[in-house]
């Protein structure tokens, strides 16, 4: 049985690395991350890169939905704004890539501010509908504003470099992304040890009670929207530079739902959960692809209707997780830890 977890101060309780054990495994994980691109196949590095971009978006969405309780069904719009604005900055104003990414995030944060304002009076479902409408408007805006966004043809992103080092291989991009993901994950993790983070959680748990305790609802809702859309914008900018080509079809309602699925699967209101969920949902189509390849000979229809099969399975996963593990993979992990920590006792 695991014991010895004595905390004598609040500072101890919110420590980032609770035990030496955590520190050890985390450093081991970083080493694995550093070595991974040297040994892995190009295809796996590609998947890892996509996962890391998804992790940024998922953490952002979780800050908004999981920690502040404001439901967004239009997160793809923020990714789109980040992707398009950074690309336009690079191509039209020849802003260096290293600046274009955070600027894309800032533009998205500005859009977040715009959405936050009508949301201030609203709650739950109504905010969900507002963000949903916003997603649609942005998508149509992209298609119609042809002079800037290339309309339905999309935009091509020129090769990017980082202070003279060309980010031309998956491996280089992996290291670049790794630095950003670690930085932004650490920021998010720390955010919830500060007053702002705790205020956001208070707003989620009971907005009126939070207001009574002196938390300005409007201010913190706006902060949450801005931080969340900043993350999404950065993810979008990185996504654009990685794929080298973006169209409005990358940023549909389907993408917003994928991001929501990530936080449902990973865990509502948990950074680790966002990471696990992002990886899970990014890998899902590949796993389904492998599965259909195995039965290709017996069920040829499944291969031609692969997209439909993928949709069914992702919908099913959302529903099953909500029904059977509402706390997501993070919740399951906590339960496993508690079980083995107390073993052989059952409490």
């Amino acid at each position: 049985m695991l014991n010895g977890n004595y905390k004598v101060s609040y500072r101890d309780d919110i420590k980032l690395f609770q035990t030496g054990f955590v520190k050890f495994w985390l450093s081991l994980f970083f080493v694995v991350c550093l070595v991974f691109p040297l040994v892995a196949d190009r295809y796996f590095i590609y998947l890892a890169n996509l996962s890391m971009i998804a992790i940024l978006g998922a953490i952002g969405l979780n800050i908004l939905v999981g920690y502040t309780g404001l439901i967004s069904i239009g997160h793809a719009a923020f990714l789109a704004i980040g992707a398009y604005s950074s690309t336009i900055l690079i191509t039209k104003l020849s802003v260096p890539f290293i600046l274009a990414v955070p600027l894309g995030g800032i533009v998205a944060a500005g859009a977040g501010l715009v959405v936050a304002i009508p949301s201030l009076r609203l709650k739950g479902l109504y905010i969900a509908i507002t963000t949903f409408a916003f997603g649609f408007i942005v998508q149509h805006g992209i298609v119609r504003w042809e002079s800037m966004t290339g309309g339905p043809d999309g935009l091509t992103v020129p090769p990017v470099d980082l202070l003279g080092i060309a980010l031309d291989s998956d491996r280089r991009y992996f290291y670049f992304l790794l630095v950003i993901v670690i930085g932004m994950t650490a920021f998010a993790r720390n955010l919830f040890r500060t007053r702002i983070g705790r205020a956001l959680i208070a707003v989620r748990d009971h907005d009126i009670a939070a207001e009574v305790m002196g938390i300005e609802l409007a201010k913190y809702k706006i902060i949450s929207f801005c931080i969340s859309s900043f993350y999404a914008g950065v993810a979008g900018a990185l996504f654009a530079a990685y794929l080298k080509f973006i169209t409005f079809e990358h940023f549909t309602l389907g993408l917003s739902i994928d991001y929501l699925a990530m936080i449902v699967v990973g865990g509502f209101g948990s950074i680790l959960g966002s990471i696990l969920g992002a990886i899970f949902i990014t890998m899902l189509p590949e796993v389904i692809q492998m599965g259909t390849d195995l039965v290709r000979a017996d069920f040829p229809l499944l291969v031609t209707r692969f997209a439909a099969l993928k949709t069914v399975i992702s919908g099913l996963i959302i529903v099953l997780f909500l029904l059977f593990e509402p706390d997501g993979m993070y919740g399951r992990w906590q339960k496993i830890k508690a079980y083995w920590g107390n073993w052989p006792f059952t409490y």
Partner: protein, 299 residues
């Protein structure tokens, strides 16, 4: 204004009425479920699509006549609604809004995938129920189908208004929406009300889906009409039956008007987003819609 511009305007308004009636039917489904169970069903459009596909399959593959297949579709949808409520929604009663919203979104995704898995991605022409006759009153042309859709929407809404006001089950549904605990104390089986409201909403969705398919076609993207009907439901007020029809028709007319006039001035694409712009405006000004009841929260 010359006669021809008036005729064009009238034409646009009447086309808007037909589209708006479909929106109203979908919005009625939203309202019905929301009123009884306080769940906003994001899968309403998909239920509608399934209704259209059931009917399509019964007519073209099973070779039944229109009326039989229509009635069979209603029965199938009734069962489907009950099963969905039982398997998916019931375990989430009392869970946070986010879970409930997400589960209906997941359901929508799943149903849409299943439709294209079973029926394929092709667009099919729906065997038309109605004659292709066109009625013309002074340069304004209306297809028989458009008149039928409008009439059936009005009839359904009236039926539901009376149902909620006078029938025992209707009153029980309103009671459940108002306060579940009190409803239970009054001997209402809240469980049965929940599954009944899903079943009835699926039936309405099927009627809407079949109307829409008659107007256009069946395809796995049809469910999007459900998303387009959100603004209608919100404009009318999420818990108001007459609101659904008023909202649906206003949104339908605004959309066709924008398509006919604003599109030309502002260069296209306005039609698709009009309703969403209206939606955001309503939410900013009057979040509970035209006829919705404002929620009063006790702390």
């Amino acid at each position: 204004m010359t006669d021809s511009t008036v005729a064009i305007l009238m034409q646009v308004v009447f086309n808007g009425l037909a589209v708006g009636s479909v929106y109203a039917l979908v919005a009625l489904g939203f309202v019905l479920i929301y009123k009884a169970t306080s769940v906003f069903n994001f899968a309403q459009g998909e239920l509608m699509m399934l209704g259209a596909y059931f009917c399509y399959t019964l007519i073209t593959f099973a070779g039944l006549d229109y009326l039989t297949s229509f009635l069979l579709t209603l029965v199938l949808c009734f069962l489907m609604g009950t099963v969905i409520e039982m398997l998916v929604l019931r375990p989430l009663v009392g869970k946070p809004t986010f879970s409930v919203i997400m589960v209906t979104i997941g359901l929508a995704v799943m149903l849409q995938g299943m439709t294209s898995l079973i029926w394929g991605d092709d667009v099919h022409n729906f065997p038309s129920f109605f004659s292709s006759r066109v009625f013309s009153i002074q340069n304004v042309h209306l297809r028989a189908i458009e008149i039928w859709i409008f009439a059936s929407t009005i009839a359904l809404v009236l039926a539901f208004l009376l149902f909620f006001k006078y029938s025992k089950i209707g009153v029980a549904m309103r009671g459940t929406a108002n306060d579940q605990d009190t409803a239970m104390l009054m001997g209402i089986s809240v469980r049965r009300i929940f599954s009944l409201s899903w079943a009835v909403a699926s039936i309405i969705a099927a009627v809407g889906g079949i109307s829409y398919a008659n107007l256009l076609f069946v395809s796995p993207d049809m469910g999007h009409i459900g998303l387009r009907a959100f603004p209608a439901a919100v404009l009318g007020g999420l818990d108001s039956v007459p609101g659904a029809i008023v909202g649906g028709i206003i949104i339908g007319i605004c959309e066709t008007l924008a398509g006919a006039y604003l599109d030309r001035m502002l260069g296209g694409g306005i039609k698709e987003i009009t309703s969403f712009v209206i939606l955001i405006a309503i939410l900013m000004i009057k979040p509970y819609g035209l006829f919705g009841k404002q929620e009063i929260v006790r702390v």
